[in-house]
Symmetry: D2
Subunit: 235 residues, 4 copies
């Protein structure tokens, strides 16, 4: 998990030796699994290396994205097995885009007319390998964070959820934004690092590092499964 | 400004060559200058290298923090000269801390009893070089973002401000969180990179890079001053 | 419009003679029309007096509700004629209900099994007379206010809307809650009194009175149409 | 408590006979007492009938306000005795006012220059009879609701509070707005009716009625004290 070390400077390591996070954050009794922006546009509709995939899908994270999705299958299964609620967020279909916003540039570029309509239609669709089932929560959002402008907080409050286990795309974008709001709202947070993905390697690893130092615990699928299994099926 | 390049991988550069940000974000007609967490605890009460300074002040960013503050003096002057409103945010004094939160660990560690009371008292005080004046807005906050749990949005709305020029500490913490909320709320955003500072070099540069790619325009003091000067004194 | 007078006490009139609102609130240059909870469950699927209608539809406002909807037809037409954006909000379909909440009691009572499925299905559907068209915004909500837990603010910010003209159901419930948030967020507000409706007459009139005194201007359809017409078609 | 009945129409009573609230809302295990806008300007600095008091203090609720404050003394004592946290909210001192807002009209009128400076200074001060003590939370606000633009939610989340017992001024203004946000955020709510006050009698009673029907349970001081006493001192 210390793969972020290769991006740190020697001075950074010196600072961390003194004040870096050493203990583990505790989780609560009622978690939910939050899957952020796991839509086809984030990996492309075919499994290709990123530099190839972005020719068709500008936001694609390529094979590393697909690898994260494949690991997510086990994470989703562990959540379902232990009756942990699943919450999916992704861009709200049909919400008007904001041409003046930086974040929209990618979207406008994303309209790749050479793709057949039935492929283009996949863009905002949740990836089949980890698709939601009846009873899961699926929310549309209009900002990076899963909280800002959505009823996520209402759902978490009315169900008594105290812990969010978070994964998805991009590590440095919507995952990071969702973690920030979850922390401001005093939820306990686990980030499943190997189920997060990003187009930029440096951003992926440094954002995982930042979140681990400041806001939550970066864990792996096995750690999440062990945690879910330790709870007993909620009544 | 491309000092972040040294943290990017070769593959990252390949992705950016295709889809990286190439044009400049536009700013609006009514900016405010937002100074985030420019308090003594973020640099220490004396100018010392970071590895020395953190012995007394665990959150200190050391000499690089002081250099950013020194550059901020010119930024603040340019804002005042052009009647651009100044808004300061920092931790709300007397708000009860939350011992279960990750972010609080640093704070608990920060209670360094060996410092004299009159020095310790400086911790949450805004640094004298850029101190607020009569008529500036000073807001307390209880989460990383300058927006979450504060009346900042109310102020920006009632004054018609459309652009936030942001600086302060830490680049990867409260600056980043404030930029995220500003973007979600559809403000135009400039981040004065050379007036932001962070304890971790990799986090500083990669967070500037992330914000520049996704949420706003990283500029320098000269660019901010030129922008402020171009507006004419607001009526 | 002073129909609320009959609910005020003599002492109230004495207080208002001194400090009651006397001037008119100004509106801005870019309004939107917000239609709150104009769904069949709020009036029933047939036009019947309230005491009859509530046998089938517990939340029904009866004939007074239908009369408000009929007046809303002209309001909607005036908005469309002048290219004023229309925004509809109503309960988010498929969001899990919260059995512990007071507000849900009505909903649980609303499951009237004696109605045919094709009639019951109308409950959360927007009333045909004022139905949304292609290009209108339709948002689901999970709390009384049109803002709380929705992307309404994002939409208003990105389109530069400064004024909300509000109508719908119930005057004392979701209309009032939406007006309160609009005011906190510093929008200019018009409430089209004759296009608001409520199951309780006293609540209808006193809530209109409260909103007029504190948060916005209670106007009629003619006043709204005149305002819309005065703007020129927005570019 | 059914003093609101005198404001209801006969038809209202018919509707309520069928669908009005009949059972009692449950409270939770960890309440806080929220005192809204209990500042001198809301009652005046001397105990006078409202029509006399408003000559000096435009927002004054007169003797009925003072009577509510006097009853609040027992409510506050019951909270302290049972270690229930007390939270005070009132206008944020030094936040710039918004001249375009309806709600500000009263404030501008409130600048009554004929009062001596030491009396005028009392305006935004919390009334001595129920003044906060060391350890209480005191928050400034810039909108009617105790939540909007304040860190109240952060505090409630980090302390695990699930129930708000609310009182203060005005029933139809800041109390109602705070109740609405508390309900949207899924807190359990008690409104101490006899410790709420308002300049307008009809608004006072109909707003209590509305809140009781939709959002929480209107109780009296004795009921609140019994509830607080039933909890055992929190660990």
């Amino acid at each position: 998990m210390a793969q972020w070390d290769r991006f740190l400077t020697e001075r950074d390591k010196g600072v961390l030796a003194v004040w870096g996070k050493k203990d583990h954050d505790e989780f609560g009794q009622r978690p939910a699994l939050l899957l952020v922006d796991v839509y086809y546009g984030s990996v492309g509709h075919e499994r290709k290396p990123i530099l190839e995939s972005i020719r068709d899908w500008p936001m694609s994270c390529g094979l590393e994205g697909w690898a994260a999705v494949d690991r997510m299958v086990g994470l989703v299964a562990a959540a379902r097995k232990n009756a942990v609620p699943l919450i999916y967020v992704r861009g709200m279909p049909s919400f008007p885009s904001d041409p003046s916003r930086v974040i929209e540039r990618g979207k406008s570029k994303r309209r790749v007319d050479h793709l057949p309509a039935e492929v283009r239609r996949l863009d905002n669709e949740i990836i089949g390998e980890v698709a939601p089932r009846e009873g899961d929560i699926v929310l549309g959002k209009t900002a990076p964070s899963a909280f800002n402008g959505t009823p996520l907080l209402h759902y978490l409050r009315q169900t008594g959820i105290d812990t969010l286990i978070i994964c998805g795309e991009s590590t440095s974008g919507c995952v990071r934004a969702s973690v920030l709001d979850a922390q401001a709202l005093r939820f306990k947070i686990g980030i499943v690092g190997e189920c997060c993905y990003d187009r930029i390697e440096a951003s992926h690893w440094i954002n995982l590092f930042d979140m681990h130092q400041k806001y939550g615990e970066v864990i792996d699928v096995a750690g999440a499964a062990t945690y879910f299994g330790s709870l007993g099926t909620p009544s």
